[in-house]
């Protein structure tokens, strides 16, 4: 007997709760030979913008203790080329295809949501309102409940496609933002994104990244994100998607106990391209061995004092 690991986000059913995180899995084709897409819940594309973007100059990444700081600058092919050159492949793979997107204004989000949401092969949208790595990457939306709700409402009205909103981690009360976004009509919330961070080369006295700052990801931030997931889950009933530092199936279970329904594998794809499959397989084995036949037995089941 295999456990039923399926989860729902709006109308979309995921085979299992493992997604690959935006910006860490390209447009999926890159990992074709390495990852059996049948084994994971879905993939999230690199963030798509209205126009193609070259991104920031070198250097774009810098490693810190158990973490990675990046300021890629949302280097992406743009919505037009995405449809023309990436979507055909994505239509063929047998897991959910979620498109991450961002714009500079609420109307920009709405427009892109409408366009992307109407494309055959796009199963859900993830609105990134929390990118720290570009001057206008939506971050101002992610730290304010009112602005976050505005973007959500605008995107929601523009499409029937399941809508996920991806929040910023650098807030004092993520619960307020989570519930504002939920009330505004999001189907799920991703908690969270990279943490605004910085590293400086003491020889040159310049930041390690050309952009100056960047976003910290990887195992270093997982304990912070676990707390954010817990707080978000306390504040809203819509599914929480954990994103930040998950490396193994144990981390997946931990995030689920904290309140996540779904977990993204991000930076760990770079360490081990098969990580997402190993997480899904590990979760399956764990559930089977522990007699868990529905993920509802795990989600939010932490026994807090």
């Amino acid at each position: 007997m295999t456990a039923d690991l399926s989860v729902r986000i709006g109308d979309l059913t995921l085979r299992n709760p493992i997604l690959t995180a935006s910006g860490t899995f390209g447009y999926a084709a890159e990992y074709e030979t390495m990852v059996d897409f049948n084994k994971i819940g879905g993939i999230i594309t690199k963030g798509i913008s209205p126009e193609p973007r070259l991104g920031n100059p070198q250097p774009r990444i810098w490693e810190t203790e158990s973490g990675l700081i990046n300021a890629i600058g949302l280097d992406n092919v743009g919505v037009e080329d995405f449809e023309q050159s990436k979507l055909d492949y994505l239509r063929k793979i047998e897991c959910a295809v979620i498109v991450n997107f961002f714009a500079e204004t609420a109307e920009g989000y709405a427009k892109l949501a409408r366009t992307l949401g109407a494309m055959a092969g796009v199963d859900a949208l993830e609105a990134n309102i929390s990118c720290p790595n570009v001057k206008a990457g939506g971050r101002e939306f992610g730290v304010d409940p009112v602005a976050a709700a505005e973007v959500t409402i605008a995107s929601r009205e523009a499409t029937n496609c399941p809508l996920i909103v991806k929040l910023s981690p650098d807030v004092s009360n993520i619960g307020d933002i989570a519930s504002a976004v939920a009330d505004a009509g999001a189907d799920a919330i991703t908690v969270a994104n990279s943490m605004p961070a910085m590293a400086i080369d003491i020889e040159s006295r310049r930041p390690r990244l050309s952009f100056g700052r960047g976003g910290l990801t990887g195992p270093a931030i997982r304990p912070i994100v676990t707390r954010l997931v817990y707080e978000s889950a306390q504040a809203t009933d819509i599914p929480i998607i954990a994103s930040g530092g998950a490396s193994t199936w144990r981390d997946v279970v931990e995030f689920m106990l904290a309140g996540a329904s779904v977990v993204q594998a991000g930076t760990i794809n770079f360490v081990n391209p098969r990580a997402s499959v190993e997480m899904a397989e590990g979760l399956e084995t764990y559930c089977r061995q522990s007699g868990i036949n529905s993920l509802t037995q795990l989600i939010g089941a932490v026994d807090m004092p």
Partner: protein, 268 residues
């Protein structure tokens, strides 16, 4: 097609010049092309986090189809330090072969220009392009003699000779290896190479490429940038070309014709 493999480390050897050689145990792998690279990670916990890119320095194919990989590396930071202390018998995670490697030279002579540890991919290249007719030369540059990795183990096919350049003049030509390249091109106009292969620091490769362009000689460079994934997804290794387009080193490189990056002008 890259694969991810856990391979036993057979030996960690001193390669001279402050460098070391990682010899992997033979394993069922896809044979790499010279100039391709692997993302390598040792058996430690989450710090250092990412695997590190290393060119294939040399490889052997066995009758049973197994492939033995060898890396040559300079200890410069945390990851390479830990790799240097790995114990023979421990296991490495090795993702590859990745990227685009070197092509055969169009003619009967080729020069390889190495800046420091930039020598790493050349043993495999020599193994692949050496023919009885071909005159292959190696130009090696370093700040000082003590930093030049040994090359005796692969010098046999270097029928065109080996020349050394040191910034401090402690061995060979006094100056940069690019100066050496330029002066040798002047000197040896009768035997102009059909191809120059360059591997070293970014600025050194750009300078070498300019010298080759002036001389009208095709120049391949093996580019370097911090890498996250090696697979084209993280976008960490992307550089801007002179055309203001993006070049993804890990998938479109690391080896490329210098003109793709720096100049419209075709060397032909």
């Amino acid at each position: 097609m890259p694969t991810l493999n856990r391979i036993r480390l057979e030996a960690v050897e001193d390669a001279g010049g402050g460098c070391l050689r990682l010899v992997c145990a033979p394993a069922s792998l896809i044979a790499p092309m010279p100039g391709q690279f692997y993302m390598v990670r040792g058996p430690w916990e989450a710090d250092p986090l990412l695997p590190r890119p290393f060119s294939i320095a040399r490889f052997r194919s066995f009758k049973n189809g197994q492939i033995q990989l060898e890396f040559l590396l300079r200890i410069i930071g945390r990851g390479t330090r830990l790799l240097g202390t790995a114990r023979a018998g421990s296991e490495l995670d090795v993702l590859g072969p990745l990227g685009i490697g070197f092509e055969q030279p169009p003619g009967d002579s080729a020069w390889m220009v190495a800046g420091g540890i930039g020598i790493a991919p050349f043993p495999a290249l020599i193994d692949a392009i050496a023919t009885p007719k071909r005159k292959l030369s190696l130009l090696v540059g370093a700040r000082t003699e003590a930093e030049i990795p040994g090359f005796n183990d692969f010098a046999a096919n270097l029928t065109g000779g080996v020349e050394i350049a040191t910034d401090d003049g402690s061995a060979g030509f006094a100056g940069t290896v690019v100066d050496l390249l330029a002066s040798r091109l002047d000197r040896a106009s009768d035997q102009t190479p059909s191809q120059v292969y360059v591997c070293g620091p970014h600025a050194m490769m750009e300078a070498a490429a300019a010298v080759c362009m002036d001389a009208g000689i095709p120049c391949s460079v093996s580019l370097e940038a911090p890498m996250g994934c090696g697979m084209g997804t993280c976008r960490g290794c992307v550089i801007r070309t002179f055309r203001n387009t993006n070049f993804t080193i890990c998938t479109e490189g690391p080896v490329t014709d210098a003109n793709v990056i720096w100049s419209e002008q075709n060397s032909q």
